[in-house]
């Protein structure tokens, strides 16, 4: 298993540009998540999905969009990039067999995004 993979690893955007961060997992996990990590701030949840076709906002969703058309893929879209979106983005997945389950989240290697 490759686990959770993310592309690209690095990207520089100009203000106002758009891009999609890709995330794929091959563990048949039903839950998937997007976090951003900023120095001294820990990880903040942007969006999450409990299964294909179902997504919901996390703590910091503004400026982002997601979709979940398949179990494996959970792309994160930035429509109008802003300097405040400069961050490291991590995708994660977990398997939750029951509502309120407690399984471990597995993280991808991250995408380092700079908006100039």
């Amino acid at each position: 298993n490759a686990g959770v993979t993310q592309t690209p690893k690095f990207r520089i955007l100009k203000i106002g540009q758009s891009m999609t961060l890709q995330c794929t997992q091959d563990m048949n996990h039903n839950y998937m998540y997007w976090y951003r990590q900023d120095p001294g701030m820990g990880l903040k949840l942007i969006y999450y999905s409990v299964g294909a076709g179902i997504t919901d906002k996390g703590e910091v969703p503004n400026g982002y969009n997601v979709s979940r058309s398949t179990t494996e893929d959970f792309p994160l879209r930035l429509e109008l990039a802003a300097p405040s979106q400069t961050s490291v983005y991590f995708c994660a997945s977990s398997y939750d067999g029951l509502a309120g389950g407690t399984d471990t989240q597995y993280f991808g290697p991250g995408t380092r995004l700079t908006v100039l």
């Binding site: 001294g40 990880l43 999450y48 409990v50 407690t102 471990t104 989240q105 597995y106 993280f107 991250g110």
Partner: protein, 114 residues
């Protein structure tokens, strides 16, 4: 709302020193607690987790953590650190609800000097 506090933002130790990183959470109900580690340039990996049962949890690489419900704490410990333990450590809590969301602390950056 749930929150997690890691009071030590930056810790510097010499090899063979003992380590204790503090983690306190605020949530009145049943919680599940996690410690993740992020080595330089790498992604987060699970060190250990507490769901129920024995409050002393042992993880990988000689780490352990103790859940003290009365103190709302889940401190991470290691008796003797190595240079390879240099990393950032994140405490996380999952409280009630069906979404499996984790709330992360701000992290503790550990630097171990050889």
């Amino acid at each position: 709302a749930q929150s997690v506090s890691q009071h030590n933002h930056h810790v510097i130790l010499s090899e063979a020193a003992s380590l204790e990183l503090g983690c306190n959470y605020s949530y009145g109900g049943t919680v599940n607690l996690f410690w993740y580690v992020q080595y330089p340039g790498q992604h987060l990996q699970l060190l250990l987790k507490y769901f129920s049962g024995d409050p002393l949890v042992k993880g990988i690489k000689g780490f352990e953590a103790e859940f003290i419900k009365s103190k709302f704490s889940f401190n991470l410990r290691k008796p003797s650190v190595q240079w390879s333990d240099t990393a950032e450590y994140f405490c996380a809590v999952k409280g009630g609800g069906a979404t499996n969301k984790l709330i992360f602390g701000t992290g503790t950056l550990l630097a171990v000097q050889p």
